[in-house]
Amino acid sequence: MKIRLAAISLDNLPQAHPLIDTLRNAVNAGDMNSIDTATDKLLALTNMEHLVDLSEEEWQKFLADTRTRNPAFKSDYLISGEVCSQIFPNITSKMMVLQLPFDEKGEDDV
């Protein structure tokens, strides 16, 4: 599993929000097919200029560092660009960052 951190421009936010709602509902319903579909659509929205795929360990470290500064931090799908300023130094304060876990092909099958 990897976690993509990708800047979402303000233009793409209206498209991202319903997909994020769908993804959240799919997770809460335990519907992996819908999770995969929503994930694929969100990945397609991501800005290639501000994009990084972290391993789980790297993301856990990022999360731990963030919570050191802000213990109440929730790992929402969309977070403020400022939180990721160390990962994306050129990110503008108006941008949001999408955090999106995804499986590498075939990883979830048995």
């Binding site: 997770v27 992996m32 790992s75 099958d109 048995v110």
Partner: protein, 434 residues
């Protein structure tokens, strides 16, 4: 959740059976131990009796030796008296006057008598010494025999004590185990009653119970593909009951569930919950799919094995067959074509694959390799999730043809991967909902 579940009752049945076998083993060990202690005791008892007999003989021998000493002393005294009187007669003879020719008296017979008496004294002395020595030996022997009897009696007392200890120890332990068996049997009986009552008021649970205890040989007819498909495709509710059952019956599965439940409960945000879901389906869905196939098909045969190794070719390579069911109780038909049915007493081998369509297609070569491990079974198949039907037709045909040629045709009877994932995810979120 029911107060008593099917899995918990089966756990109690296992416990009662386990305790019963402990009691049988303990009884058998106690019998062997008691027989050994009794045998040793009997041996020591015989030894004591023998020693007492030897003591009596030694006592008698000592008495006889004392008598012999006394008799030898008497003989010695008589010999000495005889010597004294012979010497006296010789002196009297020597004191006689000379004869007319002036010769002294010859006294030769008196002298001979003295010599003879001296010899007799020596002989009597020898005999007295010998009888005295023999007597001392007899006294020593008597003493030793006395000690031997003492030791034997001590050994007998110890052996009898051991017998008593074995009886006490075994009695105590058997009583404790018997008490446990009694308690377990009563609990089991109460749990079975509670379960029966629960099953009469809860049709889905009763249906699941019947599924679990299916008797395919009941009607004597062959088991058809439709029946097999139905057995592997449970409703959402039945899948949930199966999750409960595995949770109760399988400690490894329970640990896995508890781990994922804890991760779900402690996740602080959507991304973490998303990750827990993904990890759960990777870590659990495979196990669950295998367990489902196993429990659905196990009643078909007398014996079921998982992950049995079969060496393939000469290079030491081997396959692990996911499911091998032998001693089939009823003829089983998986579908049309060769290798798709097995008679009563025959065997059935399956490779299990549960995944999305692309994954199933990607696993083609591995499935072909695995098929080589099925060749000794009458019926062989590659049992996959129904996702196979969602492959593009040309890929589905290619996969089916390839596996048919490999001798282990594809059978798409397992639930869709998404259904299995959903059942697992629903189950780990159970506590969070409650």
């Amino acid at each position: 959740m029911a107060q008593v579940s099917i899995g918990q009752v089966e756990n109690l049945e296992d416990l009662a059976r386990g305790l019963e076998s402990v009691r049988e083993a303990l009884e058998s060990a106690c019998r062997a131990q008691a027989a050994s202690a009794e045998g040793k005791c009997e041996e020591v008892r015989g030894e004591t009796k023998k020693s007492e007999g030897m003591l009596e003989s030694a006592c008698q021998a000592e008495q006889e030796a004392h008598n012999a000493v006394e008799e030898a002393q008497q003989n010695l005294k008589s010999a000495k008296d005889a010597l004294s009187s012979a010497k006296s007669e010789l002196s009297s003879c020597k004191e006689q006057p000379r004869d007319k020719d002036g010769n002294k008296p010859s006294c030769s017979s008196e002298r001979d008598a003295v010599e003879g008496a001296k010899g007799a004294v020596e002989g009597a002395q020898d005999a007295a010494v010998k009888t005295q020595t023999a007597c001392e030996k007899a006294i020593e022997n008597h003493h030793q025999m006395g000690q031997r009897v003492e030791f034997a009696k001590q050994a007998l007392a110890m052996a009898e004590q051991v017998v008593e200890q074995v009886q006490t120890e075994c009695g105590g332990r058997l009583a404790a185990v018997s008490q446990s068996v009694y308690v377990a049997t009563r609990r089991l009986s109460a749990a079975q009653q509670a379960l029966n009552a629960y099953l009469t008021t809860n049709p889905p649970a009763a249906q699941f119970h019947s599924w679990l205890h299916w008797n395919p040989a009941q009607h004597g007819a062959p088991v058809t593909p439709d029946t097999l498909r139905d057995r592997m495709n449970l409703s959402t509710e039945q899948l949930r009951l199966f999750q409960d059952y595995l949770y109760d019956r399988n400690p490894n599965y329970r640990n896995l569930i508890d781990k994922h439940r804890d991760q779900w409960a402690t996740a602080k945000g959507d991304v973490e919950r998303n990750m827990v879901s993904r990890k759960t389906t990777i870590g659990m869905a495979g196990d669950f799919g295998e367990q489902l196939a196993r429990h659905a098909l196990a009643p078909l045969g007398g014996k079921i094995e998982t992950q049995r190794r079969t060496v393939v070719g000469d290079g030491g390579k081997y396959t692990k067959t996911d499911l091998l069911i032998t001693s089939l109780r009823v003829p089983v038909i998986f579908g049309r074509g060769t290798n798709m049915w097995a008679p009563v007493g025959g065997a059935l081998a399956c490779e299990l694959k549960c995944g999305k369509p692309d994954y199933l297609y990607k696993e083609k070569d591995h499935m072909v390799f695995q098929a080589a491990g099925h060749k000794q079974a009458d019926a062989r198949c590659t049992l996959v999730s129904r996702d196979i039907h969602d492959l593009p037709p040309e890929k589905e045909k290619d996969l089916r043809d390839t596996l048919r040629e490999a001798g282990s045709p594809i059978v798409g009877m397992l639930p869709y991967k998404n259904e299995i994932d959903q059942s697992c995810l629903e189950f780990i979120r159970q506590d969070a909902k409650e």
